[in-house]
Subunit: 342 residues, 2 copies
């Protein structure tokens, strides 16, 4: 699409893996494949691998993209891909992460830089992705990078200006990853606040469900603005209790990401909320969507987490949790919620 | 439309005036006219007055609304309307406020409660509306109330849930105004931060122009989220310098109002920005719009104001000002702006 950026490509010494075949993984693959880099790609199914090899496009996501499969190695064997690379970018929805990586052992990830592009929480164990990699795979803090920011994959694929935040306790790890993404349509911002950004990226999905519910209950933009500004207040209140680091939570990695999700009509979390607000049961909404919106698990995880912070008041999160897990009536719950918003 | 709220109306002893005939004035008139209150309405032109009397609707704004003209007194004589009332709600766009009130003297406003529903700044003198009423009409602080919040007039007219903030240094003044608006679809929030909320309501119009420009330059939602979260940061930075009161700038009167404006496609400020981004000259955009977007004056006023705060960095405001008043190229200015956003 853009020949110039190809010409201006830099040589990257690290070998890089994209793990995942959804829209975000595909957009990341497409971006990085423009560089002079040895790039590997793990996809789930042989059909997907074959399709990409044959047609130079992902059969399921961002179909308009013409990918560069010649310079890369596509495989359905995650161990093989991981073993060959130094930097691993994981872009798998959190509900599927654990199973997708089950054949890997801590030894396989030793000395690798693990980049999580996963915005979500591990279901049941309620772990942050950083904690999951740390506990299950012994990935040390200084080898872990969280990639976030307001980033619809479609826009990144279309090379529209996007700000991504790389967060790590290790500036060296950020420096290793940065050249992969820093280009003429991506601006990189850096942060040391891994957990704060992870929490923000989880909470926003819960708030997107709330936005969907309120929309189908007939609330308008005036109320949506109140709901969203209160979501920001909740997020910050949680930060001060759970992760009181020094951060600017109004920067794009926190507030920007929350806004792009809350105000996007294409978020699957919002769509899920819209169905719930219209009276679908959770089960039939999940069935009809044919994918699991991350905010569904996140609201349970957060509700669990909040037990450790009895002072925390996150009425929007609690409202979503009650509606999704305690079959509470959306209309009545939102009526109650109104009193808590300022 | 909603007969029930009519039945449940409360007796209001104060005599109330709505000053203005735009959409916000009309929505406020419609809301308050459902109460058992002596209500007066100043409109600019005899034709408008006659139309409303005859057809029970505003000829120019919110035409779908069936107004209750029988219980009110409509006049084109502002002195007459003001003289009869105790509480005056001003809902006139800031560029027209001064001229519309030129026949009034300080004595006419003595002992009245002045409610400003004006989100803007007085052109040329660069005054906040509270300062304008204080300087020109000697309205004391404790008789002034600022009415704000994320409130598209159309949604208020349609009785969709809306949060309005009443701000005054005088709790008694707020108490006097509150019963006029506190009903089943309006939630009132209270504040003592008059100037902070006024600044927020001015800045958001400048940011809406920025959103319009960036939209027509081809930026997408990813960038829009970055622009808007940085607008919030700018607003707060200005607060800490110019008006360091204790406030929660993430509540609906500040952040919510900014969001409803930035993300609304129907804001005239955004439309103006869109035209500028498409290459219209300022003059032809103003001509074609046939109304003056308040952010146009606000960006000049703010640019002026910022000279008093040399430490302040408000790159978005500055960018809009350069484009509108120094004929700077929108594309180039936004390219420069990108570096300042985080």
């Amino acid at each position: 699409m853009d020949k110039k950026s190809k010409k201006a490509s830099r040589l990257i010494k690290s070998k890089v893996a994209i793990i995942g075949d959804g829209s975000w993984a595909t957009a990341l693959y497409n971006t990085i494949s423009e560089l002079d880099v040895e790039l590997y790609w793990w996809v789930r199914l042989p059909e997907i691998k074959d399709f990409i090899k044959k047609y130079h496009g992902n059969p399921d996501f961002l179909r308009f993209l013409e990918l560069h499969p010649t310079i890369s190695h596509i495989s359905t064997n995650v161990n093989e891909v991981v073993s060959k690379c130094d930097i691993l970018l994981f872009a798998i929805p959190s509900p599927y992460l654990k199973d997708s990586l089950s054949s890997l052992s801590p030894r396989d990830l030793k000395n690798k830089i693990v980049v999580s592009a996963v915005k979500g929480i591990i279901p049941r164990t309620h772990q942050l992705i950083s904690d999951f990699f740390s506990h299950t795979y012994k990935v040390p803090e200084d080898h872990f990078v969280f990639l976030t920011g307001p980033s619809h994959a479609e826009e990144v694929a279309n090379k529209r200006m996007t700000y991504l935040t790389l967060a790590s306790s290790s500036p060296a790890a950020i420096e290793a990853v940065k050249p992969l993404l820093d280009n003429h349509f991506i601006a990189i911002r850096e942060s040391a606040d891994v957990k704060g950004l992870e929490y923000a990226s989880i909470l926003k999905n819960i708030y997107a469900i709330a936005v969907g519910i309120c929309h189908s209950l007939g609330y308008g933009d005036n109320f949506l603005a109140v709901l969203t500004s209160n979501a920001v207040r909740e997020m910050k209140q949680f930060f001060t209790l759970a992760s009181p680091a020094n951060r600017d939570a109004d920067s794009s990695g926190y507030l920007g990401d929350l806004m792009v999700t809350a105000f996007s009509q294409f978020s699957r979390n919002r769509t899920f909320g819209t169905m719930i607000g219209k009276g679908y049961s959770v089960k039939s909404a999940l069935l009809e969507l044919n994918m699991i919106p991350e905010g569904y698990f996140a609201s349970q995880s957060f509700s669990n987490l909040l037990k450790h912070y009895p002072q925390a008041r996150l009425p929007i999160v609690t409202t979503v949790y009650h509606i999704l897990y305690a079959k509470a009536d959306p209309q009545k719950e939102f009526r109650k919620l109104e009193a808590y918003l300022i």
